[in-house]
């Protein structure tokens, strides 16, 4: 739930990058951290294992500066989090998702990862409904089809068929990406930021 502090004129929003393990969630945050101007970001905080797999979460605070018309200016801050993708960390994902205002679902485009993508998306739906107590269909979600540079990837249409089926009419925006080179990363961030703001 976004926090609007009228006394300090601040708005805080929480965005969580969710998805299967090794899908590129941390790479998204690392790229954003390299691209955003120094004055607009804090330190990238990672709670990871010795092998650099996310253990609890990564955290990147972004400060968008003072925004709005003269008499209604607010300092806007986005807090970006990732969850650990590995299956055994389901409870940890639930904990990080607490209070989220929007989610970027980072899917792995490789054909053999489709099942993992689907499982993770189902778990997300369950978490939003049961643990956050929100309507999944109305919750701000952006899809990112990552790893588009690899050879064995499903087509965008195939990914849509499984993760964003037209029959479900979810209408999620989706962005192809190569997170470690940065392709599509900022477009995804822009899309989720605007979506979250539109729901404030």
């Amino acid at each position: 739930m976004a926090l609007i502090n009228v006394a300090t004129r601040e708005i805080h929003c929480k965005v969580v990058y969710y998805g299967p393990g090794m899908g590129g969630k941390t790479s998204n945050l690392q790229y954003i951290h390299t691209q955003v101007p120094k004055e607009a970001k804090g330190d990238l905080l990672s709670i990871a294992t010795e092998t650099e797999r996310t253990l609890f979460f990564d955290f990147l605070p972004l400060d968008l500066g003072t925004v709005g018309p003269k008499d209604r200016k607010f300092q806007v801050r986005f807090h970006l989090y990732t969850v650990p993708g590995q299956v055994l960390y389901e409870r940890t994902r639930t904990a990080v998702l607490n209070g989220a205002d929007g989610v970027v679902f980072v899917a792995d485009s490789q054909k053999h990862k489709m099942e993992e993508n689907l499982k993770s998306l189902r778990e997300l739906a369950n978490n939003i409904t049961k643990n956050l107590g929100k309507n999944f269909r109305e919750f701000p979600i952006i899809l990112q089809y990552n790893k588009r540079d690899l050879k064995n990837v499903a087509t965008i249409e195939e990914l849509d068929r499984y993760l964003n089926p037209p029959a479900m009419n979810l209408g999620w925006q989706r962005y192809p990406a190569v997170a470690y080179t940065g392709e599509g990363v900022l477009d995804t961030l822009k899309a989720i930021s605007k979506l979250v703001i539109s729901k404030l």
């Binding site: 739930m1 976004a2 926090l3 609007i4 502090n5 009228v6 006394a7 300090t8 805080h12 929480k14 954003i32 691209q35 955003v36 101007p37 607009a40 804090g42 330190d43 905080l45 709670i47 609890f56 979460f57 955290f59 605070p61 968008l64 500066g65 925004v67 709005g68 018309p69 209604r72 607010f74 806007v76 801050r77 807090h79 989090y81 409870r91 940890t92 639930t94 904990a95 990080v96 607490n98 209070g99 989220a100 205002d101 956050l132 107590g133 929100k134 309507n135 109305e138 940065g182 900022l186 961030l189 822009k190 930021s193 605007k194 703001i197 539109s198 729901k199 404030l200």
Partner: protein, 164 residues
Amino acid sequence: MDPQLTSQIVPIEEIRQIEECLARLVEDTSGNYVLLLDKSGQVIASQGDANRQDITALGALIAGTFASSREVAKLLREKDFRSMFTQGVRDNIFLALVEDQWILCIIFNKGTHIGLVKVLTKKATDALAQVLERVRETHKAREDVLGSSFRTSMEDTIDLLFRD
């Protein structure tokens, strides 16, 4: 609070009351620092050592440990862990829930007895629960606070800041 609401708006008067409550807690416990967080990790107010630069990260980590403890509680079939105590060599941290929405965090050193911190924190969380109740009651229509021109101007800022 209605779970479908996307924003929690804390008005000026309520922030003043929160800050007063936190300042009293710092003074009475000789604590170094007191923070009030939303369960999502966002800092609502703080009092004490004014030079702290790491409040944002501190808020995210503390809310993370509390959210994690909630999952542990579920596994143990415990309803909730309402408070947590972390003991360090120099500093200690005591955390307590304000209803299910906010987390009160106090950082204090060896000179202060944990028993005193617990008693005074309980008093503070009761007072803060009343403020939280008022925040819920006086939840204004969002257009009152933000306005539609805010969103347009926000979108322009996002385009400008997040570009390759």
